[in-house]
């Protein structure tokens, strides 16, 4: 029994192969005649690095997920676009909202400021006022064509200062603040034919050529990549630019 205590203290090192040859030989000789220690040794072999096989095999998505994230990071110039947590998802939505708000604010500024700047020292008070009124009208109803207005302002005398600038009217352009054909994206995913289930409930914006835009967030982009779809990073410098699926049924 006393000897058993001595040998049982060697068992842990024995199963890890870090026991001296002398102790190894002694333990192996002991267990031949001691069933208790033999059973203990068997338990150690089976539980620790044995048939119990305690390690789990990592899922395949681990490596691919890491490398996708690394590639996005490098492509974005050092910004982490992966947002698996809900708080990060909220940050992305917030940034997108703020980018749209910033775009709308710029349009408002242009509609007010540019006419005033272009009419400094050129128009009479009456003409300035009428241009200003005209600009305010445009703010609420149409998008403003800067090119035409500049031409009108620089190429005409004050008698022409009240001319209405060339405008394009588009409800959708006012609503989104953008002409969809010129919209800049951070990344796009092109899907033709069947739409994956995860996108089935997402709203689709008709872009007029038989295709649709489906605006998604970074989480959804990750999910699509894991499903095997390819993301095309358009190289937009604005890391808050939207991500979109270009879907053609």
């Amino acid at each position: 029994m006393k000897d058993c205590v001595k040998y049982q203290q060697l068992v842990s090192c024995y199963v890890d192969g870090i026991i001296s040859q002398e102790d190894k030989d002694a333990l192996e000789a002991h267990v031949v005649s001691c069933s208790s220690c033999a059973f203990l040794l068997k338990i150690y072999k089976d539980v620790f690095s044995g048939p119990a096989d305690l390690s789990d095999v990592p899922p395949e998505a681990l490596v691919s997920g890491v490398m996708n994230r690394v590639k996005r990071f490098d492509k974005s110039g050092g910004t982490d676009k992966a947002a698996p947590s809900s708080s990060s998802k909220k940050n992305i939505i917030f940034r997108q909202i703020m980018s749209y708000a910033a775009a709308a604010a710029c349009i408002v500024l242009v509609l007010f400021a540019v006419p005033k700047l272009l009419n400094l020292g050129a128009a009479s008070d009456e003409n300035s006022e009428s241009v200003s009124d005209s600009a305010q009208e445009n703010l609420y109803s149409v998008s403003y064509d800067l090119g035409s207005d500049l031409k009108a302002a620089t190429g005409e005398t004050q008698s022409d200062a009240t001319a209405t600038p060339e405008v394009t009217t588009s409800d959708s352009a006012v609503a989104t603040g953008d002409d969809t054909s010129a919209e800049v994206f951070y990344a796009t995913v092109t899907i033709t034919g069947a739409l994956p289930d995860i996108l089935a409930d997402h709203p689709q914006t008709d872009i007029g050529n038989g295709s649709y835009y489906i605006y998604i967030d970074a989480d959804m982009l990750n999910s699509l990549i894991e499903l095997g779809y390819t993301a095309d990073y358009t190289g937009a410098e604005d890391t808050a630019a939207p991500i979109v699926v270009i879907y053609t049924p």
Binding site: M1, C4, V5, Q8, Q9, V11, S12, C13, D16, I18, C34, S35, S36, C37, F39, L40, I43, Y44, D46, V47, F48, S49, G50, P51, A52, D53, L54, S55, D56, V57, P58, P59, A61, L62, V63, G65, V66, M67, R69, V70, K71, F73, D74, D80, A82, P84
Partner: protein
């Protein structure tokens, strides 16, 4: 992967070739994932945390001082991130059967009812599940070293580096942790049928 190959891969990544990072991920994913899995108890959380760990390692690779193996650096990062995660989530281990652990505290765990016969594949799986449940009842110190050795497959040297211990201390701490683990398994009856037989034959065990 030898330490030299590891350093070469790291150097290649730092020189602008990110594809070499994949070999480092493949080499160390078992260690990181199993540690995260044992500490969180959730496969999905372990996957997310593992990816976060490797991404953080990639973005901070220039800070790796090469004074230890890359696996040890990853271990420390994984451990700290799991602790932060658990603190934030305030997760608790799932347990149902009463037991008094080595600290004299009441603890509980659920284990499958099984006879000890690892030759059978189903019973090997049950043994594995019993061991995983029992690990949750160890002290923090013992649980940590059992996870590192038995689940993440770290060597004595890697464990010593990660925990700032000598290999001798690792050896004795691991031996004590294994003894405690087996005591728990014996208490829950995992080895009952064989132990009763052997107790009749001899004077007991060192557990």
């Amino acid at each position: 992967m030898t330490q030299l190959e590891e350093l070469q891969a790291i150097e290649a990544v730092l020189n602008g070739d990110p594809d070499f990072f994949e070999s480092l991920v493949i080499e160390n994913q078992k260690l990181v994932y199993n540690l995260a899995l044992r500490m969180t108890g959730s496969q999905s959380d372990a996957l997310d945390l593992s990816q976060d760990v490797f991404f953080k390692a990639y973005t901070n690779l220039k800070n790796f001082r090469c004074d230890c193996r890359f696996s040890v650096w990853l271990y420390r990062m994984t451990y700290n991130m799991c602790i932060d995660f658990k603190r934030a989530a305030k997760r608790k281990p799932i347990s149902q059967i009463s037991f008094t652990n080595e600290n004299g505290e009441n603890a509980e765990f659920e284990i499958p009812d099984c006879r000890y016969n690892p030759e059978d594949e189903l019973e090997r799986k049950e043994l594995r599940e019993a061991v995983i449940s029992a690990v949750n009842l160890l002290s923090d110190e013992h649980r940590q070293i059992i996870i590192m050795r038995e689940f993440s497959g770290m060597s004595y040297g890697q464990i010593a580096d990660a925990l700032y211990l000598s290999e001798g201390t690792v050896k004795s701490r691991l031996a004590r942790a294994r003894q405690q683990l087996l005591k728990i398994l014996v208490a829950n009856g995992t080895f009952t049928s064989n132990i009763r037989h052997n107790e009749r034959m001899e004077g007991g065990y060192g557990i």
